[in-house]
Amino acid sequence: MDKRMASLADAVADIPDGASVMIGGFGGSGVPIELIHALIDAGPRHLSVINNNAGNGHVGLAGLIEQGRVDKLICSFPRSADPRVFTELYLAGGIELELVPQGTLAERIRAGGAGIPAFYTPATYGTELAKGKPVGEFDGKSYVQERWLKADYALIKAEAGDPLGNLTYRMAARNFNPIMAMAAKTSIAQVSRAAALGDLDPEVVITPGIFIDRLVEVADPQQEEDLNRQEAAYP
């Protein structure tokens, strides 16, 4: 078995209109910029995107939104230093937003990957973000019931990956990537270093290959912060 794809274009070629897509990353760290740009090139529309943020500048997720490909965004923090693209579209009513607290977002994704359809969390209890959600009381304290979150695809950025899809990450670029890899029907990883089978120490694998369907090497990945300093735009 070999999950390596010949190209970024091949890796995302089958993502259809209307797909739900989890995209890893927090701020610019761990964002699979090249996979997102391949998705922009591939052309699907009416996507639902799950990401912690709403992108920055005119590259990556911001570029995807700017191209009008995203109907709905599920995220915790769509506000940022240079949020023009999302902000303008949102205020014009051009994109739907589901705002989820960051820890709840992470746990809902983890629950999706772990086969837990619902769980209770103290977060949002008594706030407007809990509206319409079931409440449960346990040991005298109130909690809000939250549902799992799954997606059709996940776009993941990792550091090293072997042909079976075993992955390691780099510092805080880990963030949402390992849990999104668990929660999508098809998980696609770009890796900065293609490792040979047997090269990754089984003790340090963070994402076991069972969670990954495709991987493609992007040896010298772009970083959102650098692109934005250069005022880059994609496409």
Binding site: A114, G115, D162, M182, L200, P202, E203, P208, G209, I210
Partner: protein
Amino acid sequence: MSHDLTDIKLSNAQIAWRAAQDIEDGAYVNLGIGFPEMVAKFQPDGREAIFHTENGVLGFGEAPAAGEEDWDLINAGKKAITLMPGASFFHHADSFAMVRGGHLDVAILGAYQVAQNGDLANWSTGKGGVPAVGGAMDLVHGAKRVAIITDHVTKKGEPKLLETCTLPLTGVGCVTRVYTSLCVVDIEGGRFVLREKLQALSLEALQAVTGATLHLDGAVAPLTAPSV
């Protein structure tokens, strides 16, 4: 059970061999402890499954030579194992996230009883003693295919394939295919559908040792297995 069937029936190894033929190359597979572990030995040439064990190893291989055991490297049956290239370790919650989250392609388990609606009883004889369940109740949920390998009848000759299980259930409606010593049946729409049977065995003789109606859906192929 009649003397005839004892003569013609498949051995446990042959049942395991037959089940192994349905595992795709690259499939992620969990084998229940005991008899199902034998399935790993019979992977067809050119196919390599990746084996998962509940206690936190993906990609393990055969048992080590005697005396070479490392007791920190064991499977769910507490037997010493080895690693294949591309293996990984993880903790128990992540391990059962793989199970419950639908990431395994196949789980192969033993059974006391299987009902025609896919109910499985394989954890308790209901007779007292110390109850123990292990990972079975998790494994029957989540794997894309839950297959059973079993002798067709109990040691006393009683049917194991039933209209309704009489022993405590492991899971409800979870089994999709059963490989027995006499036949292969799929569970579809709340019925046993016969796919393969030993050629030496008439449908009537097979039905006579089965506790629920065997339905037909197209041809019944011969169940064969080499001497293994």
